[in-house]
Structures are given as C-alpha cells and as structure tokens.
C-alpha cells in the first residue's frame, strides 16, 4: 500500500492515498495540485474523513473547483478542477 499518482489521460490525473491518515492525504493533494495546469482534473481517492475537511477548505481558499464527491464503503472519490 503506497501513495499512487498517475496521469490517466491528458489533463486527467489520479491520486490514490487510501490507507493513509492525516496529514498524508491533504499534503499530497496540495503538492499535486501545485504541479497541475489550470483546468486539469484530479481524481482523489482517500479514506480518512478528517482530511476531507481540510481539502474542502484548501480548495475554497485556492479557488479550485471540487465538483464531484462520491463516498462508498468508507472511501471517498473526489474530483477537483484546478483553477
């Protein structure tokens, strides 16, 4: 179980931090979003609820669009479009 980051298609990336607790999910998300281009979409997989609150606040603060949130079996799949 390791952090997984990959390019799925042009402008479409996946970051999988399931199994990790604070501060891994929010710090990896911050770092990845910092590297993406404006308009790129990041699909984020995580299962640590408290990281979600920090990621919402981070997106709000930086203007990134958290446009889809799906929760299944304790795992969250969120999609973020970089501003």
């Amino acid at each position: 179980m390791a952090v997984k980051f990959e390019k799925v298609a042009d402008g479409d990336y996946l970051l999988d931090v399931t199994g990790y607790v604070c501060p891994h999910p929010q710090m990896y998300t911050k770092k990845v979003l910092g590297k993406l281009e404006s308009g790129d979409v990041l699909t984020l997989l995580f299962d640590n609820p408290s990281s979600g609150e920090s990621i919402i606040a981070m997106c709000d603060s930086e203007g990134n669009d958290l446009f889809q949130r799906t929760e299944e079996g304790g795992t969250s799949q969120w999609k973020i479009r970089k501003a």
């Binding site: 199994g19 607790v21 604070c22 501060p23 920090s54 606040a57 981070m58 299944e72």
Partner: protein, 484 residues
C-alpha cells in the same frame, strides 16, 4: 461543488434507521454502556462519579468526530496546507469553555489548579507539536480516530501510554542528565523514603524543579477583587477571549484574507469587508464551529458535575471514594488517584501502560508520578481512563451512524510514524505536564497563561514537524518514482 452523491446500497428497509447496520452497531454500543452504567450503580451508587467521566467522554467523542476536531491539525494544517479551519474551531471552543469555566468558578465547584510555568512548558509543547505531525492526530484526536476504526490511531494511544510510563520511571544513565541543583532541591522536600526522589530523572525534575515553580491564574496575579470579576474579566476575558480574538484576526490576515477577497472579487476592501471575511472564516466549516461550541459547553458542564459530586461526597479526590469502597490496590501513598475533574487525556493513558507493566513485573511505584500522585488503578476502575474509552465509544457511535466507520490497518510507514510520533507526544506531554487538552485547553480557559506558552511551543514544534514531514514526502516520492 456542483455534485455530491452517496453510493451506499441498502436493502428494502432503505430510509429506516435500522435498515443500516452502522446504526444498529451504534445503538448496540450505547445500549451496552447504558446497561453497564445501570449495573455499576446497582453495585454501589458511588460509581456515579466514574460514570460522569464515561458519559462526558462519550459526549466529547461524538463532538470530536462530528467536527473532525483534532487540535493537531490546528497547527499542522496551517503550515502544511494553509488551512486555518481547525485553529478557528479550537479558538471557538476556548472562548466558550472560558465562559462556562467562569460560571463554574463562581458557583464554587471549579476543579482546576493552575500549572507551574517554566521552560518545560515550551520545550514539552514543541516536542509534542513535532510528534503530532507524524501521528496524524493529537491525544484526543487519536482516541476519536480509534473510534473510526483506525488501528494506526490505536497504535498512537499505545505508544503514548507505554512511553509515558517508561519516561517517568527511567533512572540510571538518565540521572546524569539532571542538574545537581535539582537533586539537591529534591532531597530537601522531605518525601517518603520509598519514593527515592533523588533517583530517577523525572522524580528530580518534579521535586527539584517543578515544585519550586509558581503557577497562578490571571485573576490571582492581577488581584481581582470579587469572584465574579476575577472569573469573568480576569480569567475568561483577559486570559482567554481577548487572546483568542487577537489570534482569530491574525489567522484571517495571514491565512484566509487573500483567498476570501479573491473569491468575492473584492479589490479595495474596507473594514466591513474584513469583518464579513472574519465571519466567513469562523463559519466556513459549520461542523467544526458547532463542535467547538459544544466542546466548550460540555467541558464546563463536566467540571461542574465532578465538582458538585465532590461536594456531595465531601471528597477532594476519587481515591477517597475508592478506598471507602475497598479498592485500595491502585491508590498512591496519599490514597489518591489521577482525578482531574475535567477533560484530560495523557495521564490516564500513562496509568494504563504502567498497570500492564506492573502486571508484567517491570514497573515499580518508587516514583512521584505514580507512587505519590496518580496511583496505578486497575483500568476497570480508572475514572479518567473511562473518559478516554468513552471518547472512543462516542466517536464510534457517530462514525457508524454516518457510515464513516472503517477498519483501517496501518502500513509500515504509518505504523512507524504512530509509534515514534506517539513516543514524542508522550515525552512532550510529561515535560509540559499535559497535552493540548490538559496543558493548553483546560489551562487558558481557566486564566492560566501557561497554556498559551504551551501553544507557542506546540506551534513551533508543528512548524518544524511539517518541514521534516515535507522532506520525508519528497524522499518517498523519489523512491516510489512518481514526480510530484
């Protein structure tokens, strides 16, 4: 956020509360605690004293999980991802608890005693703050995350428990670290011989250093006349509310303002814009703000309930009740046990570790921490210990009902961080005489400024921890061959 879905499958009982297994498990936990409470009271009504800790623990656990209220992220997320959410929630809780604590003080049942202030507070806070970055949660946060099924958080609790028990009994080589002045001062304190206070670094730290320091509330230092003015103006307003408001403005200026003005396209902000911005920051995470308000209220009520019971039973410490009930094995030399009377986390965890070590024959009570002050009670009758277990239960109840409970087994990296970070938290907590709850939250809200010193240390430690953690992330990213 334009779309949100919840892909949970349910059977034909969809929509009914019992149609979801999580709700049933949550009810089962609450039912068992209720049955246990009734059973304890049927044995002896004086167990109500312990049950107060249990049920307030459950209340804390519910609110902590509901608001994702982990004070570790108050400093960590500020530096790591620029998010002041938890710092704001923590300050809301401080403001409200300071007011409820003042009410309890005026009622004459406040159980708080000021902490001695010295360098140990800032150093302990810094070590604790460094550790919490790696464990992913503070002492209370690790308990509520344990209630979410997080086994890594349980490892943190284990590490805090055993590391503290070990630290306070270490002697031999560690005695060489102690200044001679502490040893000399400790020897003059007239302690019982069986405690051997001139042996063991923590005994000499306690008797030769801590006991020579002073601690007081702001109301005492400023010599306020009258209980009401002292409690509300001295302790609550000057000691907690005013510093919290200053910190909220600081957080807005340096962590929220830029994003807020950009989001609302405000180019030339006026005072009104900034005030609306501060309100936006305070209310941006509704759950965290509600949890902060609830925790502040609950913490005050807890102090009142325990204080009222002490009045009722004419006792100063739970140890007296335990002795009356014939449970003397875990008491200290003074017939006391750890019994703060308010929200506290780390000392009872040290007692858990010590109890297991004592059973294994590797723990002795020839020390001040356990032998003179806190005792080593059986966990079954450890009242504050039950508060910690209550936090786990309360968090499990709400996590199950919100469908957020998930057994999570730590990988090697997370387990390593949990153990090492937990050991650092344990060391920091013992040096500072408490964690972010006992040494910060419960102190600043009662007019004891040593808590702000602890926060300064925890912030410094958190900052250094985030720097170290970022380095680790960079190294891992390179090792795993993905470039971020």
């Amino acid at each position: 956020m334009s779309e949100q879905s919840n892909a949970i499958t349910m059977d034909g009982r969809e929509g009914l509360w019992y149609g979801h297994k999580g709700n049933l498990y949550a009810m089962l936990i609450l039912g068992l605690v209720m049955i246990g409470s009734v059973w304890a009271l049927s044995l002896d009504t004086r167990w109500i004293y312990l049950l107060v800790y249990v049920w307030f623990g459950i209340g804390y656990g519910v609110l902590l999980q509901y608001g994702r209220f982990c004070m570790a992220s108050a400093v960590r997320d500020l530096f790591a991802v620029g998010v002041p959410r938890m710092a704001v929630g923590m300050l809301i809780a401080v403001v409200l608890f300071s007011l409820t604590a003042a009410v309890v003080k005026v009622m004459g049942v406040n159980t708080f005693h000021p902490h001695p202030i010295g360098w140990h507070v800032i150093i302990g806070g810094a070590i604790f703050g460094f550790g919490i970055v790696f464990t992913g949660g503070c002492a209370s946060g690790s308990l509520y995350k344990s209630g979410e099924g997080n086994l890594g958080a349980m490892l943190v609790v284990l590490s805090i428990s055993f590391s503290q028990a070990i630290y306070v009994t270490l002697g031999g080589w560690f005695d060489r670290l102690v200044p001679a002045s502490w040893t000399e001062s400790a020897a003059t304190k007239g302690m019982p011989e069986e405690l051997t206070v001139t042996e063991g670094w923590f005994d000499q730290f306690t008797a030769g250093y801590i006991w020579d320091l002073q601690g007081s509330t702001l109301a005492e230092s400023l010599e306020f006349e009258g209980e009401v003015a002292g409690a509300f103006v001295g302790n609550a307003f000057l000691g907690a509310i005013l510093p919290s408001l200053v910190l909220l403005v600081y957080l807005y200026m340096f962590a929220y303002r830029k994003g807020y003005l950009r989001r609302y396209k405000i180019e030339m902000p006026k005072l009104g814009d900034h005030l609306r911005g501060i309100w936006s920051m305070v209310s941006s995470s509704r759950n965290t703000a509600i949890a902060g308000l609830g925790l502040g209220l609950l913490a005050g009520l807890h102090m009142w309930a325990t204080g009222a019971l002490r009045d009722h039973y004419q006792i100063f410490n739970f140890g007296e009740l335990l002795a009356d009930m014939g449970h003397t094995a875990g008491l200290s030399l003074q017939d006391t046990v750890f019994d703060p009377g308010y929200w506290y986390i780390t000392t009872q965890e040290a007692q858990w570790g010590a109890w297991i070590m004592e059973k294994a024959g590797v723990m002795s009570r020839d020390n001040i921490f356990f032998g003179l002050e806190n005792g080593i009670p059986n966990p079954i009758i450890n009242a504050p210990g039950w508060m910690s277990i209550g936090i786990i239960f309360g968090a499990a109840v709400i996590a199950l009902s919100r469908r957020e409970f998930k057994w999570k087994v730590p990988n090697l990296e997370t387990a390593m961080f949990a153990l090492i970070g937990g050991a650092l938290m344990g060391l920091g907590a013992r040096l500072a005489m408490g964690c972010n709850i006992g040494a910060f939250f419960a102190t600043v809200t009662n007019g004891d400024l040593s808590g702000w010193v602890f926060l300064a240390g925890m912030t410094l430690g958190g900052y250094l921890g985030v720097k170290a953690f970022s380095r680790w992330m960079e190294w891992r990213a390179g090792k795993d061959e993905f470039d971020i």
